[in-house]
C-alpha cells in the first residue's frame, strides 16, 4: 500500500467542481441497483430496493426520508458497514478515486466486490463517516488525542509521533476547537464539541467522500447551524463530496446541492435542492414540504400527510406511498414505479402521475426554478386551510 502524502491544511484543496456542473458528470461515488435485505429468504425485509444514486465530486447530496425509510441502511450498505443481519443482494458501488494530475483515468473500485484489505485502504482515507451521536462513535476509554494518533499511525505510517500530534491539533483548530482538547476524554466534552471532534477526525486523512448520517440531529438548533456552516465551509475549502442523510428536509433545502427523497426503501425523487423545494414532482415530497410550518407570513392550517409510514415487513403492493397519496390511481396499487428522468430537466421521479398519458395535478407541475427563472412564489398555498 502506498503512503499518500499528508495534505497541507493551509493550502487550498483540489479544485472544487463548479456548483453548476451537471450532477453526475464527474461522480466520485456511484451506487447502482443496490438492494439490501435484513435476513435472507422468504421472511427477509427488503430494506433498500434497487437504488441508483450518484454523488458528484465536491457536491453535497442530501438523502431525506422518515425513520425506517432505509436512508441510513442505503449509506451504510454502500460502504459495507451495515450490521448483521443486513445482506446486500444486488448492485454495485463504484468509488472513482481522484484522477491523477497527469490526466490518467481515475482508478475505480467496486466496494461490493472489494476484499477486506482493499476496503481497509479506502476506508476513512477516502470515505469517512460521521454518525448521529459522537458520544457513541468515539471510544469512551481513550482520549481524543489517542484516537487521532492511532488513526494517523495506521494510515500514515511515515508520520512520526510529534507530527501526528501536530496534525491532530491542526485538525481540531480547523473545526473551531483548541489543541488542548486532545487530552480530553469524550465524556468530558459537550455534545457539540464531540461532534466537532468527530468531524475533525473524519477530515484527518483528507477524504474525498464524507457520509454524514444525521450529524446534527442530537444537537440544539444553534449548535446545529454552527456545525453545518463550518462543514459546508470546509467542503468549499477542501473539496470533499458529502452524502448528507437527515429526516429534516427543510435543513437539506438550505444545505444540499441536490436532494434525493426515499420512501419505504426506494428512491422516489431526485432533483437539485431548489427545484425540489419550489416544484416537487412527487406527491410524497409535496406532502413532506407541507409538514414544515413556515416561519413567516400568515398562519393557516396545514394537514401533513394522512396515515402512517408503512411497516417494512408488510409493504402495500404497487407504489408503497399509494395508501397515503391523494392522487393515487388504480395503476399505483399494482405496479411499482421506477425512478426515471423527467423530460424537462435533470431530475428524476418515481411516480405514475408523470408517466405515459397520466396527467399530473397542477400542484406537481409547478415551473422548475432550474428551468424557469428565477425565484417563484412558494408552493405553499395560503388559501388551502383556515387560519389557525
Amino acid at each position: 500500500m502506498s503512503t499518500p502524502v499528508v495534505s497541507d491544511l493551509s493550502s487550498p484543496g483540489p479544485p472544487v467542481a463548479p456548483r453548476d456542473v451537471a450532477e453526475g458528470a464527474d461522480p466520485v461515488l456511484e451506487i447502482r441497483g443496490l438492494c439490501v435485505e435484513y435476513g435472507f429468504g422468504d421472511d427477509a425485509v427488503h430494506a433498500v430496493s434497487d437504488c441508483d444514486l450518484s454523488l458528484g465530486r465536491g457536491r453535497v447530496l442530501g438523502l431525506a426520508g422518515e425513520s425506517g425509510s432505509g436512508k441510513s441502511t442505503l449509506a451504510m450498505a454502500a460502504i459495507r458497514l451495515l450490521r448483521s443481519p443486513g445482506v446486500i443482494t444486488a448492485g454495485e458501488v463504484l468509488f472513482h478515486s481522484r484522477s491523477a494530475a497527469d490526466g490518467e483515468p481515475a482508478p475505480t473500485l467496486d466496494l461490493l466486490a472489494a476484499g477486506e484489505e482493499e476496503l481497509r485502504a479506502v476506508r476513512w482515507s477516502e470515505i469517512a463517516i460521521v454518525l448521529q451521536s459522537a458520544l457513541n462513535a468515539l471510544n469512551p476509554v481513550s482520549t481524543i488525542g489517542a484516537q487521532f494518533d492511532e488513526l494517523l499511525a495506521t494510515h500514515r505510517p511515515g508520520l512520526g509521533r510529534a507530527s501526528r500530534r501536530d496534525r491532530a491539533g491542526d485538525l481540531l483548530e480547523l473545526v473551531g476547537m483548541t489543541a488542548d482538547r486532545l487530552r480530553s476524554y469524550p465524556h468530558e466534552m459537550s455534545g457539540g464539541m464531540r461532534q466537532r471532534a468527530m468531524i475533525a477526525m473524519a477530515l484527518a486523512l483528507d477524504p474525498q467522500v464524507m457520509i454524514l448520517d444525521e450529524p446534527t440531529t442530537a444537537l440544539d438548533v444553534v449548535t446545529q447551524r454552527e456545525i453545518l456552516e463550518e462543514l459546508m465551509g470546509l467542503r468549499d475549502r477542501l473539496g470533499f463530496a458529502a452524502l448528507f442523510i437527515t429526516h429534516d428536509l427543510s435543513l437539506l433545502v438550505e444545505f444540499a446541492d441536490d436532494i434525493a427523497v426515499m420512501y419505504a426503501g426506494r428512491l422516489m425523487e431526485r432533483a437539485p435542492a431548489a427545484s425540489l423545494f419550489r416544484a416537487p414532482r412527487l406527491p410524497y415530497t409535496y406532502g413532506l414540504l407541507h409538514c414544515f410550518p413556515p416561519m413567516h407570513g400568515e398562519r393557516y392550517r396545514m394537514e401533513g400527510i394522512p396515515g402512517s409510514p408503512p411497516d417494512m415487513r408488510d409493504l402495500p403492493p404497487g407504489c408503497a406511498f399509494h395508501p397515503r397519496c391523494q392522487w393515487a390511481m388504480p395503476r399505483c396499487r399494482q405496479d411499482v414505479p421506477k425512478l426515471e428522468p423527467l423530460a424537462e430537466s435533470r431530475r428524476e421521479v418515481a411516480c405514475w402521475l408523470h408517466r405515459d398519458d397520466a396527467t399530473a395535478p397542477a400542484e406537481l407541475t409547478l415551473p422548475d426554478p432550474a428551468v424557469a427563472q428565477p425565484r417563484t412564489a412558494p408552493v405553499i398555498d395560503a388559501s388551502a386551510g383556515r387560519a389557525v
Binding site: 435476513g39 435472507f40 429468504g41 459495507r80 450490521r83 448483521s84 443481519p85 445482506v87 443482494t89 476484499g115
Partner: protein
C-alpha cells in the same frame, strides 16, 4: 460453582428497548432453551415421583449387596480369624447403578435425593427472590434515604463471602439439615443481595420512565404503580434471577451437605437425602480411589446436568432481555446455502447476488466465511 455474573447487570438499557417492544416473557425458541426445558422437566418429574419409583429405601442395607473380600493374611490358613472387607457391586440388572460400600442401592439413593436437592434449590430461590424484590424494588422506587439504607444492606451482604457465612450459619443451626425450609431459608439469606441489586437498578430506570410518571400524573396510588405498572416489566429479570439463584442454591446446598453440615440421614434427627450427602459418603469412603465410579459419578453428573439445564434456560432469558445476544437474521440453513457465516464479520456486510448468471452464488467480495 461459578455462575455467570455479568449477564444480569448489563441489561438496563437494552432491556428497556426490548421491554418496550414485547409484552410478555416469550422465550426465543432456540435449541438451547428447548434442551434446558427438557432437562428441567425430567428432573422435576423425578423430584416428584422419585421416592415413589425408587426400588428400595435409600437407607436399606442388605448384606448380599456387597461382595465380601477376605482381608489378606486372615482366615483359613492363618491363625487370625477370617476378616472381610466389603466391595460395592457394579451396575447390574438388579442394581441399575450398582451399590455402595455400605451395601445400599445407588439408584434408589439418587432418585430419592433428587427431591430434597430440587426442592431446596427452588424454595431457597423463591425466598431469595421475594426478599430481593421487596428490598430491591422498594429501594429503587422510593429512592432517597430508603434507597441508601437498603442498598448499603445489599452491598454489605454482597461483599461478605457466601459459603463461609453459610457454613457458620449452618454450623450453629444444627437442625437446619433436617428441614427443607430451614436450610432453604439459610441459603436464601446469603443469596438475595445480588438479585436485589439488579432489580434495584432496573426499578430505578423504570421509575423515571414516562409511563410511571404518567400513572402518577393520573392520580394512581404508589402501591398500585409498583405492583401494576412496574413489576410486570421486571418479570424477565425476576425470572433470570430466579434461575440464577436456583443454580446457586443447589450448589450451596450440595456444598454444605458435602461438608457434613446438613446432617446425615442416619444421624438423629435424620438429615435429608440429597446429592451432596451422596457425594460426602463417596468422599468419606474413598470411592474415587476404589474406582467405584457408579457411586460417585451419578450425583455429580446430576448436579452438573441440572445446573446446565438452568443455565441454558437462563441463556434464553438473557437473549430475551438483551436482544444483542441473539444471533439475528440468517437461519443456519440459509447461511450455509449462501456460503456465508451466520454472523458475518463486523463492518464487512456480505454481498450475496441472487440474480447473477454465473454459477457462483457469492461475489468475490463476500469471502467472509
Amino acid at each position: 460453582m461459578t455462575i455467570n455474573t455479568t449477564i444480569l447487570s448489563e441489561q438496563s438499557p437494552a432491556a428497556a428497548a426490548v421491554v418496550s417492544t414485547s409484552r410478555a416473557l416469550r422465550l426465543p425458541r432456540s435449541p438451547k432453551v428447548i434442551a434446558g426445558l427438557v432437562i428441567l422437566a425430567v428432573f422435576a418429574v423425578i423430584a416428584i415421583i422419585g421416592a415413589w419409583i425408587a426400588p428400595y429405601s435409600p437407607n436399606l442395607t442388605n448384606e448380599s449387596w456387597v461382595q465380601h473380600v477376605l482381608v489378606a493374611g486372615t482366615g483359613p490358613g492363618t491363625h487370625i480369624k477370617a476378616d472381610y472387607y466389603p466391595l460395592p457391586l457394579p451396575p447390574s440388572g438388579a442394581h441399575w447403578l450398582g451399590t455402595t460400600v455400605l451395601a445400599q442401592d445407588v439408584w434408589s439413593q439418587l432418585l430419592v435425593s433428587t427431591q430434597a436437592t430440587v426442592a431446596v434449590g427452588l424454595l431457597a430461590a423463591a425466598i431469595s427472590t421475594v426478599l430481593s424484590i421487596i428490598v430491591g424494588v422498594t429501594a429503587g422506587y422510593l429512592g432517597g434515604g430508603a434507597d441508601e439504607g437498603l442498598s448499603l444492606l445489599g452491598n454489605v451482604f454482597l461483599a461478605i463471602p457466601g459459603l463461609p457465612l453459610l457454613i457458620v450459619l449452618a454450623d450453629y443451626v444444627p437442625a437446619a439439615g433436617t428441614s427443607i425450609f430451614l436450610v432453604s431459608l439459610i441459603i436464601a439469606i446469603t443469596a438475595w443481595a445480588y438479585s436485589s441489586r439488579v432489580l434495584r437498578a432496573q426499578t430505578l430506570s423504570l421509575r423515571n420512565r414516562d409511563f410511571v410518571e404518567a400513572a402518577r400524573v393520573s392520580g394512581e396510588g404508589r402501591f398500585r404503580i409498583i405492583v401494576v405498572e412496574v413489576l410486570p416489566n421486571l418479570i424477565p429479570i425476576v425470572a433470570a434471577s430466579f434461575l440464577f439463584t436456583t443454580l446457586y442454591a443447589i450448589g450451596a446446598y450440595v456444598a454444605i451437605s458435602f461438608l457434613g453440615l446438613a446432617g446425615s440421614p442416619t444421624s438423629s434427627p435424620p438429615g435429608l437425602w440429597n446429592w451432596g450427602e451422596m457425594l460426602r459418603e463417596t468422599f468419606a469412603n474413598d470411592a474415587v480411589r476404589g474406582g467405584w465410579w457408579w457411586w460417585w459419578a451419578p450425583p455429580g453428573l446430576c448436579i452438573a446436568l441440572l445446573g446446565t439445564g438452568l443455565a441454558l434456560l437462563n441463556f434464553g432469558i438473557d437473549e430475551f432481555i438483551n436482544p444483542r445476544l441473539r444471533v439475528a437474521g440468517l437461519s443456519r440453513k440459509a447461511a450455509r446455502t449462501l456460503g456465508i457465516s451466520r454472523r458475518p464479520k463486523l463492518g464487512l456486510t456480505p454481498v450475496v447476488r441472487r440474480k447473477v448468471v454465473s454459477p457462483t452464488v457469492t461475489s468475490p467480495g463476500s469471502s467472509t466465511s
